[in-house]
């Protein structure tokens, strides 16, 4: 055999490799030419020993080239065939990817619960820690320590649910403010907390009332806290919750537990301040009550009003949810209709 024969053999082998149409066929071709014992090319390689030393170099080179070429061709063809077979297998497993599915992968947050988490996050930026307090309170914490002695006219706005005996000493808190007292009595200033939670008032359910609803209370007590600080804080939070371009106004008000007292309104989003049904023609929507903690309340909380001051505020996430999400009936918030929940 000569180098020329080797060339012909190679050409034949390459042709068969190219012609193989399955991985098994290709393996047969490989065994025929490169089989370890009797492959035609393998056998041709064994002739090397029969050649004279001066012929060996040339033939050896030719053999190496030929077998290298065949191996490469085999590999390429194998990859091609393997890819083709995988594709066929996958085609057999065809699925209609446009088919609509039913299972919701992820559940939805409740708008009010979600809003409370959002409010907590905003206040976390300002160093406020979210704390909880009991929903059932005594008169002392819900009213008296907050400057509302029995018969105080301001109690009228807090139409209170009382418990029956033997638990007759307890009431359902009418606001989250008692947690202010608990926080002041339980630790020393500086103090920065917010208190999200449920409260209840004796209002018959209607589109603008539910007897149980949520509040988020906030309290900041330190040396030298001012009404300017309250204003700055409220503006920051309202911008965060309602968007930076929403107009805000602070209005003088009255609460027994703060002085000076303020209420915050945001411009009505429905009418842009012109007046409409949503804002009762006022152009503004009340969202928050606040003020500088009354010196008497500070004292009741064990804080010296001569050295410390503070501000407090309270907002209603249910109401804010109504405003932000365009709800028309507050009661919808407590019916858990999935058609509503799935929008959040």
């Amino acid at each position: 055999m000569t180098s020329v024969d080797l060339q012909e053999l190679t050409a034949m082998a390459l042709e068969e490799i190219a012609g193989a149409d399955s991985l098994e066929g290709l393996d047969e071709v490989r065994l025929r030419y490169l089989g370890r014992r009797d492959g035609l090319v393998t056998l041709a390689g064994q002739r090397l020993r029969e050649l004279s030393p001066d012929q060996r170099a040339a033939y050896g080179q030719a053999f190496n080239r030929a077998s290298g070429e065949l191996r490469a061709a085999l590999e390429t063809r194998q990859r091609e065939l393997a890819a083709g077979e995988e594709a066929e297998r996958e085609d057999a497993e065809w699925v209609d990817m446009s088919h609509p599915f039913r299972e919701p992968g992820q559940g939805h947050p409740h708008p009010v619960a979600g809003l409370i988490r959002e409010i907590e996050d905003v206040f976390a930026f300002l160093g406020y820690q979210s704390v909880a307090g009991p929903e059932l309170e005594d008169d002392q914490h819900n009213f008296q320590l907050l400057n509302m002695p029995p018969e105080h006219p301001a109690r009228d706005a807090h139409d209170t649910f009382y418990l029956s005996p033997p638990a007759g000493g307890w009431l359902y808190r009418t606001h989250t403010s008692p947690v202010q007292m608990r926080a002041m009595l339980g630790s020393r200033p500086p103090l920065r907390i917010i208190v999200p939670g449920r409260v209840a008032r004796r209002d018959n359910p209607d589109p603008t009332h539910t007897p149980v609803f949520h509040q988020v209370e906030g309290l900041c007590v330190d040396r030298g806290v001012t009404l300017g600080d309250l204003k700055g804080t409220l503006e920051y939070v309202i911008r965060a919750l309602f968007g930076g371009d929403r107009r805000v106004r602070l209005r003088a008000s009255f609460f027994p537990y703060t002085e000076p007292s303020l209420e915050a309104d945001v411009a009505c989003a429905v009418c842009q301040g012109v007046g409409c049904r949503t804002c009762l023609q006022k152009g503004w929507i009340e969202i928050l009550g606040s003020g500088m903690v009354h010196p008497e309340v500070l004292r009741n909380g064990g804080v010296d009003p001569e050295t410390h001051s503070g501000f407090a505020f309270g907002m209603g996430p249910d109401r804010i949810a109504v405003l932000r999400y365009g709800l028309t009936d507050l009661r919808d918030l407590y019916e858990n209709d999935l058609r509503l929940l799935e929008c959040f």
Partner: protein, 795 residues
């Protein structure tokens, strides 16, 4: 409260100030204007006509034919249903073609064969209040024939005010004018009030007040010689503007003074009081058992020691501050009057008002701690107007109660006020708004001494002054700042709270977040499954209804209700969770408020699917415990009320029962009107899950390979896997890293009453590769335990 722009304008110059600006100033300073409405607009088409002839329309028992004239014009015929016309009366006449303020278009109308040329108007038809008792009769002193009505009733604006509960002083035009005077920096013109020389031609009067605590001041004034004339037009016009009906000259005047000055007044017909001849003995005392009084509203009221009454000659004549008696009521023909200007204890009046379920303009003012100093002012204003406009003469008067303490000066430091408000204010800047509010202000050293005007009962401390200064300057002027954070971050600052962890985990598992009212129907909740089943409900003493009469013991009742709600609205799949407090009674002690989680999975589907959903729910509980650091969860089969007797388990973690999980029993689902199988769980999270959850410490990770072996056994068909795995875990074999059940099957070759389990054991030694022999040793140990625990046989 409603106030008139025009009326305010008499006390403070509002020239050039738009109603919208007034509304804005008042609102921002605390007196919220809820609505501004135009009044008396469109009266320029209605003319003043004179009734020159009047007769009944033939064949009608209630229609009159009036001949109405204007100067230089022939009288026209107008048909009218009102019975208060008389020849010579000046009346508002809407001629054909007129459009009335209320929107009606007036035409020529044929009635009973007569052409009626327009209409004579009642006040309500002119947009001048709600009075529809008859045609508005105009006073010849003010009305000029042929002129249009807008000259008599100038267009006005009305403000609907929400006065703050501590600002009784603002429940009057004068009070609101004081605010505007301060806000606009324009001078205040106090309403004229004077007391002429007393005549001695009338009966004397004496006042005895039992308790000055009940009644700090009681002024009694005798006025005689009232004419029968109605109150002057400006009084009636303004009262009409704010929606008050005209009730005759004397009563109108008293009402007018109340709305102007803020002091409620009461007038008794002197001649209908007992003891006029000897002199009037007025008393203010508590009622006595058995006494009663017939009131002005026609109701007879029983009196008792909780009720303060006004007596004359010891006979009750009025319930103090609330309502007068019928017997001494002022009416037509009253010519002599006993005027009462008093102040009553606000708390007493409040409870009386509640008990009698009666609230009047007067009681509403007293309840808000009206200043007793206002009584004198109110009396004098009434006297002034009565003498001037109703021809009255002042007789004797008397005062009861205790001497009124003058308001005390309040000392404040402008530096302190600045530090509260967060704006630099010097003594002058603090003094100026206070002066504008009629405070008497002195400066002493750097300090400001301010004495509030006597009618400001809400101002008594330095912080009250700070608020006055702040709101009059306007909070718009205060620069907003953020206070520096000085407190240390709380130790758990970066840890995710349990409630959030729970919400995230449940939502990730496909459940949506629900919130239900914490007030429930106890009867209904008794039907629902719940973790705590041995407690009675905490009941409300004053519920709105039985449906909302009890505090919830658990959260599943709410979710079942929501499941029904959703199914009824066409949802075939409902997955909800709720977390929140439940309320567990502890007798008189503070009730316990456990933080609960309830989860519900409903699908109106086949039974096999229900098991998958139940397992999914259990997987959620396990992963919740895992992320919340609650430890390994164990489900112990149990029979539980309201749950399927063969599909319920307690959830245990460590040595504590944390919850229940299972399928709602069919009758219970039926009771909640739910179709299909409902899988539920209720867990108590507090004391179990921890903020931050996982330990957050890295373990040492062994690098040696694991040896994995499968073990197949045959067990009785109701053998429990949970206890079996626990028993294996209890072996505490150091090499046994993990046991996973990979198959459970039934088969003929196992025989009836048996099933097969295949468990996969993962073994590892931290330092070396385990041998097959070692692996077999572990497998044998596991098998022995399973034999003991559930009677397993190797297969």
């Amino acid at each position: 409260m409603r106030v008139s722009h025009e009326w305010l304008g008499e006390m403070v110059d509002l020239e050039g100030v738009e109603p919208a600006q007034v509304a804005d100033l008042l609102t921002l300073s605390g007196t919220e204007v809820e609505k501004v409405t135009a009044f008396g607009v469109g009266l320029d088409q209605v003319v003043v006509g004179e009734v020159v002839g009047l007769r009944r329309v033939e064949g009608s028992d209630h229609l009159f034919l009036a001949h109405v004239a204007t100067p230089g014009q022939e009288p026209r015929e107008v048909i009218c249903g009102a019975d208060n016309l008389f020849v010579g009366a000046l009346v508002p006449w809407a001629r054909p073609g007129t459009r009335l303020p209320i929107g009606a278009e007036i035409g020529r109308k044929r009635l009973r064969g007569i052409w009626s040329e327009g209409m004579l108007c009642a006040p309500d038809e002119l947009g001048l209040g709600s009075d529809h008792d008859g045609v508005l009769i105009l006073s010849p002193d003010d009305a000029e024939r042929g002129t249009t009505l807008d000259r008599l009733y100038p267009a006005d604006h009305l403000y609907e005010l929400e006065v703050l509960s501590n600002r009784a002083d603002c429940l009057s035009h004068w009070g609101v004018a004081r605010e505007l005077s301060a806000l606009l920096s324009r001078p205040l013109r106090d309403p004229e009030a004077s007391r002429p020389t007393r005549s001695s031609l009338s009966p004397s009067v004496q006042v005895t007040v039992d308790s000055p605590t009940d009644c700090p001041v009681y002024l009694a004034e005798v006025l005689i010689g009232f004419s029968e004339a109605p109150a002057p037009d400006f009084v009636r016009r303004r009262l009409a503007a704010i929606g008050q009906r005209s009730l005759g000259g004397i009563v109108d005047l008293a009402n007018y003074v109340m709305f102007e000055i803020g002091q409620p007044l009461h007038t008794f017909d002197l001649n209908r009081l007992p003891g006029v001849e000897r002199g009037l003995e007025v008393g203010v005392r508590r009622g006595r058992e058995g006494e009663s009084i017939a009131c002005l509203d026609g109701v007879a009221r029983e009196l008792d020691a909780e009720t303060l009454v006004i007596t004359v000659g010891d006979a009750p004549q009025a319930v103090a501050g609330l309502i007068g008696g019928e017997a001494s009521a002022v009416g037509r023909g009253t010519s002599q009057v006993l005027l009462e200007a008093a102040n009553f204890n606000w708390a007493l009046l409040r409870s009386t008002s509640r008990r009698l379920r009666l609230r009047t303009e007067a009681s509403g003012r007293f309840e808000r701690q009206l200043s007793p100093h206002l009584a004198r002012r109110g009396a004098d204003r009434f006297i002034h107007l009565a003498v001037r406009h109703l021809g009255a003469t002042l007789g004797p008067g008397a005062v009861g109660g205790a001497p009124l303490a003058p308001a005390a000066a309040i000392r404040c430091d402008p530096v302190w006020i600045s530090s509260i408000l967060g704006m630099e204010l010097g003594p002058d800047e603090v003094a100026s708004p206070l002066r504008r509010l009629q405070f008497e202000v002195r400066q002493e050293g750097g300090e400001v001494l301010a004495t509030p005007p006597p009618y400001r009962t809400d101002v008594s401390t330095a912080v009250d002054l700070a608020e006055e200064v702040g709101r009059i300057i306007g909070y718009r002027e205060v620069p907003g700042t953020l206070p520096p954070i000085r407190q240390a971050p709380p130790p758990e600052a970066l840890e995710e709270p349990v409630a959030r962890l729970t919400s995230t985990t449940c939502r990730a598992a496909g459940f949506s977040e629900a919130l239900s009212l914490s007030l429930v129907s106890g009867e209904r909740e008794a039907l629902a499954p719940r973790l705590r089943r041995d407690l009675p409900h905490l009941e409300l003493a004053n519920p709105l209804s039985a449906q909302l009469g009890s505090l919830r013991l658990g959260l599943l009742q709410g979710l079942l209700q929501s499941a029904h709600h959703n199914q009824a609205r066409g949802q075939d799949k409902v997955r909800l969770f709720e977390q929140g407090a439940a309320f567990w009674a502890r007798g008189q002690e503070r009730p316990e408020e456990p933080w609960m989680l309830a989860v519900l999975d409903l699908e109106d589907d086949g039974a096999a699917d229900a098991v998958t959903r139940l397992r999914h729910l259990m997987a959620l509980i396990a992963s919740l415990s895992s992320v919340g650091g609650g430890g390994v969860v164990e489900f112990r089969p149990v029979t539980w009320p309201a749950l399927h007797r063969a599909r319920a388990a307690e959830v245990w973690a460590g040595a504590e029962r944390r919850g229940i999980v299972g399928e709602v029993a069919q009758p219970v689902a039926d009771a909640f009107d739910i179709r299909g199988r409902v899988e539920v769980a209720e867990l108590r999270l507090d004391g179990w899950l921890k903020p931050g959850g996982r330990p957050g410490r890295a373990p040492s990770l062994p690098r040696t390979p694991a040896l994995v072996l499968d073990l197949s056994v045959t067990v009785p068909s109701r053998a429990l896997l949970g206890p079996a795995l626990r028993a294996v875990a209890a072996l505490d074999l150091p090499e046994l890293e993990l046991v996973t059940p990979i198959d459970e099957f039934l088969g003929d070759q196992l025989g009836p009453g048996f099933k097969g389990w295949t468990l996969r054991l993962r073994l590892r030694h931290p330092e070396r590769t385990l041998t097959t022999a070692e692996g077999d040793g572990v497998r044998q140990a596991v098998l022995r335990v399973l034999e003991l625990e559930v009677g397993a046989r190797a297969r």
